[in-house]
């Protein structure tokens, strides 16, 4: 097991290096620079802009820039944002709590919907419940989140005027009022993301459970006269969860990465909106940091998924 872990971690190093090279090259080749807005402002002479570029090292060749980025990263320095001139790690840490809260809750909502609905639908295939659940799931994951987000805003904020649609980090109330306000402003984005994710997962859970429910050991369990609930939970769900766990684990990096579109619509100051604004303003250090951390998380949760596999299914061994 330790051997396996060590090997996997060693393999991760070249892949991370490869990812960082690709990311950096694409960003360096992309047109535009962080001082675009200065270019159209006649009050700022072009040589001031050229000097600013030079001071940030933007005129150096790509390989030199990459090398200085890499060495800094290895020393634990994430660099400074070109745009806000503060350390990137600070910028990310500022936004992480909001993203984890909103996206994390959305994932939990998704799981709470997908697991019971998927399993129940699979135990009664082609029943009315199954048909309805299926139809709703199809609708749910065919509607893009930006569309449902706008629909919810139009309905709950504009027509009914129940919920605010501008996310505020500085709610002045304290105690339960604060929680209430927080709930009011996060319920829409959480529902938009949770329902979308939940719809997709419901389909997977149902399919996985259907596969298991027909197997011989389930029939045996029934023949032994075990109660149906016990069969479902112990004999079906545990085995059906293996592919689902991979899916959920691979979705975890998104909790860090944020939901780009949804955060933009609801003005949630999360990692997703940070990424979008940095991309739009060509803020390379921030884009690199966010995407790179995202890559690390994807690799890490892949590993986690593989390990969980073994725990759920002892037949799988690590070599």
């Amino acid at each position: 097991m330790t051997n396996y872990l060590a090997r996997r971690l060693l393999i991760a190093i070249p892949s991370l290096l490869g990812i960082s090279v690709i990311l950096f090259t694409i960003l360096a080749l992309a047109p535009g620079d962080p001082f675009e807005e200065l270019a159209t402002n006649p009050a700022i002479p072009p040589d001031v802009r050229a000097h600013l570029r030079a001071s940030l090292g933007l005129d150096d060749p790509i390989h030199l820039r990459y090398w200085s980025w890499l060495t800094a990263m290895l020393r634990g320095e994430w660099g400074y944002s070109f745009i806000s001139r503060i350390p990137v790690d600070q910028l990310i840490l500022q936004r992480l709590p909001t993203t984890i809260a909103v996206i994390g809750l959305a994932q939990i909502v998704a799981l709470c919907i997908a697991l019971p609905v998927g399993v129940y639908a699979a135990t009664r295939p082609y029943s009315v419940f199954d048909q309805v659940a299926n139809t709703l799931a199809f609708i749910g994951f065919s509607l893009p989140t930006f569309f449902t987000g706008l629909l919810l805003i139009l309905l709950f904020s504009i027509h009914l005027d129940w919920l605010p649609f501008v996310f505020r980090t500085d709610i002045e109330a304290t105690g339960w009022r604060w929680w209430w306000e927080m709930l009011r402003q996060t319920i829409m984005p959480i529902m938009v993301l949770g329902l979308f994710q939940g719809a997709a997962w419901t389909r997977y859970v149902r399919a996985a459970t259907l596969d298991v429910i027909r197997l011989d050991h389930v029939t045996t369990a029934r023949a032994k006269g075990l109660p149906e609930s016990r069969i479902t939970i112990l004999h079906v769900v545990r085995n059906a969860m293996i592919p689902v766990v991979t899916l959920v684990a691979l979705q975890m990096p998104a909790v860090f990465g944020g939901a780009i579109v949804t955060e933009q619509i609801f003005r949630i100051p999360g990692i997703g909106s940070l990424l979008v604004t940095s991309i739009l303003s060509n803020d390379t250090p921030v884009i690199m940091a966010v995407t790179f951390v995202f890559a690390i998380l994807v690799i890490f949760f892949n590993l986690v998924a593989d390990i969980l596999y073994g725990w759920l299914d002892p037949r799988i061994s690590y070599r």
């Binding site: 006649p42 501008v166 980090t169 604004t277």
Partner: protein
């Protein structure tokens, strides 16, 4: 009325034999607007009644106004005025920092940290135009209780011009010399006579940061200064918290240097999102008091206004959407350079073709169907302040006339309906950035041109590429490798010198200067160059205004430059909010004077 008459009348007002009101009335009789007339007076050293350029402030005590909530769809990221690129950052730091003076929307200066606006009469402006002396307001304190003095002003100059700091504002400070006269007086000295002296220490670029908090960070370590994100200024609102790219909070400054100000107890500026939902948050749900820069179709704004809760504010400045007809040949390389100034455009060198092109764009349609209130049609390139507006230019839309001109000039239609002469076909590549109204404008132009036998090939480039300074990319607007292009250019100051230098020959954008020259259109005229040089040394404001009007007339009547619509700034606010906006300064330039009618 000629210049002499005007001078005589101004003289009479100065001597007191003609009242200011009488002067304005007489000016109105000969077709000059009241703002222009008062500006003529102001420029001649006759100060306008104080409350003229800025609306009256009614509240009779400080505070008690509750919360003021402002929404920006672009979030600020930085609160150091010397570093922030872009309007959002300048506006956000302006909440805390103040300059010596700001620009009111009528194009006059409004004193903020200065005791008075320098003029020839009060001895602030030297007669040779080589220096300007600012008297600072006394009794001004920074938010931390320290006194504001001339040392702070000097420090800002040293800080901004230091190349190690790499300040965005350095362009305004490196060519001047600043001397401390006494604790409350500074003198800005110029190398040559400078008619436009109100740049350093004025408006966005002039926001003053405190010496005692920045002096240890005045070099290469400038970006480490903790005060870059926790500003301590002199303004009406004190810093509370700031999350870059998201939210900015401030509260009333109990020691503000003006009486009864500010009105609001707390201030919040939320950033991010999109313009349409920002408009909704103000005019439909009234969650916010003010929303910045409403780049939203006028139809939608009108519908939201119909709710009766909020209104749209339109402030006219100098921004203009215009078309450039390339005087050089973008399709042929001369000495390894496309669109080189050594070449000549095969079709646009004929003034008749340019004249026809100018007749083929229906500005009325643009205003009515595309831009609405956000784009009034104009015939001038230099539209504001009113004292610089040329009365001589007219625009016209006539396909018949364009056809006539082209026929007379010998451009005959070929079999495909496209005109040609001596093997040159009237087929042009027309480029602009990706932006819905621009693509619609392109379509309108193309349709009309087709009916006159001119084929326009439309090209649109993503804005981040089009407006970038990327030397390797052939599609940037500064390279102008197309027959014609269209974009909006902005005028950041109420003075046109920086604005009109985009047509002087020594600023031509070319390979030699890495396409960083300001003259992107590559327009050249000896007369223009001469008049521009003359204006740089002309200290008489009336004569100087006449020179700029002449410059406008030269570029516009050459038809290389075709002005389309003015682009005023559009914002949304609640009906009861009394704000002070300016076309020549940031949204937050006079936040101290905002209040709410109850």
């Amino acid at each position: 009325m000629n210049e002499d008459d005007l001078r005589q009348m101004i003289g009479r007002v100065q001597r007191g034999s003609l009242s200011r009101r009488g002067f304005v009335k007489r000016m109105a009789a000969v077709g000059l607007t009241a703002p222009m007339a008062t500006q003529l007076l102001a420029l001649s050293g006759i100060s306008p009644a104080s409350a003229q350029s800025v609306p009256t402030y009614a509240p009779s005590r400080r505070g008690g106004g509750g919360a003021l909530k402002i929404l920006y769809w672009q979030a600020s990221t930085l609160l150091n005025p010397h570093f922030g690129s872009g309007t959002t950052n300048a506006d956000a730091s302006r909440v805390f920092y103040e300059p010596l003076a700001g620009w009111a929307t009528d194009g006059t200066l409004h004193p903020i940290l200065a005791a008075e606006i320098p003029s020839t009469d009060n001895g602030g402006l030297s007669p040779d135009g080589r220096s300007v002396t600012w008297k600072l307001k006394r009794g001004v304190k920074w938010h931390d209780g320290q006194d504001f003095s001339a040392d702070d002003v000097i420090f800002n100059w040293e800080y901004a011009k230091n190349p190690a700091v790499a300040a965005v504002s350095s362009g305004s400070y490196r060519d001047v010399n600043v001397v401390k006269v006494d604790d409350h007086t500074v003198r800005v000295e110029f190398n040559q006579p400078t008619p436009f002296w109100a740049d350093a220490f004025v408006a966005a670029i002039g926001q003053l940061i405190p010496k005692h908090l920045f002096k240890d960070y005045a070099g290469a370590n400038a970006r480490d200064a903790p005060t870059n994100l926790r500003p301590v200024g002199t303004s009406a609102y004190k810093f509370v918290s700031f999350a870059p790219g998201d939210n900015l909070r401030a509260e009333l400054n109990p020691n503000y240097h003006l009486d009864n100000r500010p009105y609001f107890d707390t201030l919040e500026i939320k950033g991010g999102g999109d313009a349409v939902s920002a408009a909704r948050a103000v005019m439909q749900t009234a969650d916010f008091d003010y929303a910045w820069n409403m780049q939203v179709e006028d139809e939608i704004l009108k519908r939201l206004e119909a709710n009766g809760r909020g209104k749209v504010n339109i402030v006219e400045g100098g921004s203009i959407e215009f078309v450039q007809l390339n005087p050089t040949d973008p399709h042929r390389e001369v000495e390894g350079e496309r669109a080189s100034i050594k070449s000549e455009h095969p079709a646009f060198r004929d003034p008749k073709v340019r004249e026809a092109m100018a007749l083929l764009i229906d500005r009325n349609a643009l205003e009515q169907f595309i831009y609405g209130r956000g784009g009034p049609a104009t015939a001038n390139f230099l539209n504001n302040p009113p004292r610089f507006t040329s009365p001589n230019m007219r625009w016209e839309f006539s396909i018949a006339k364009a056809n006539e001109i082209l026929d007379a000039a010998g451009w005959v239609r070929g079999r495909d309906g496209i005109r040609a002469k001596d093997g040159v076909r009237l087929r042009f590549i027309y480029q602009t950035s990706v932006n819905a109204p621009r693509q619609r404008t392109q379509a309108v132009y193309k349709q009309a041109a087709q009916r006159a036998g001119i084929d326009l090939e439309l090209k649109s480039v993503t804005a981040s590429v089009f407006f970038s300074s990327d030397v390797a990319n052939p599609d940037t607007y500064t390279k102008f490798f197309a027959d014609m292009q269209m974009y909006t250019t902005t005028m950041p100051q109420a003075d046109p010198e920086r604005f009109m230098n985009q047509y002087v020959s020594w600023e031509v954008s070319s390979k030699a200067n890495n396409w960083q020259g300001r003259n992107i259109s590559r327009f050249r005229s000896e007369e223009y160059d001469r008049i521009f040089r003359e204006s740089q040394g002309e200290l008489d404001p009336v004569k100087r205004a006449a020179l700029f009007i002449r410059m406008n007339d030269i570029v516009v009547s050459s038809n290389h430059i075709i002005p389309l619509v003015k682009r005023p700034t559009v914002s949304a606010s609640l009906n009861n909010l009394r704000h002070v906006l300016s076309a020549w300064d940031g949204t937050t330039w006079l936040l101290s004077d905002w209040w709410r009618e109850t």
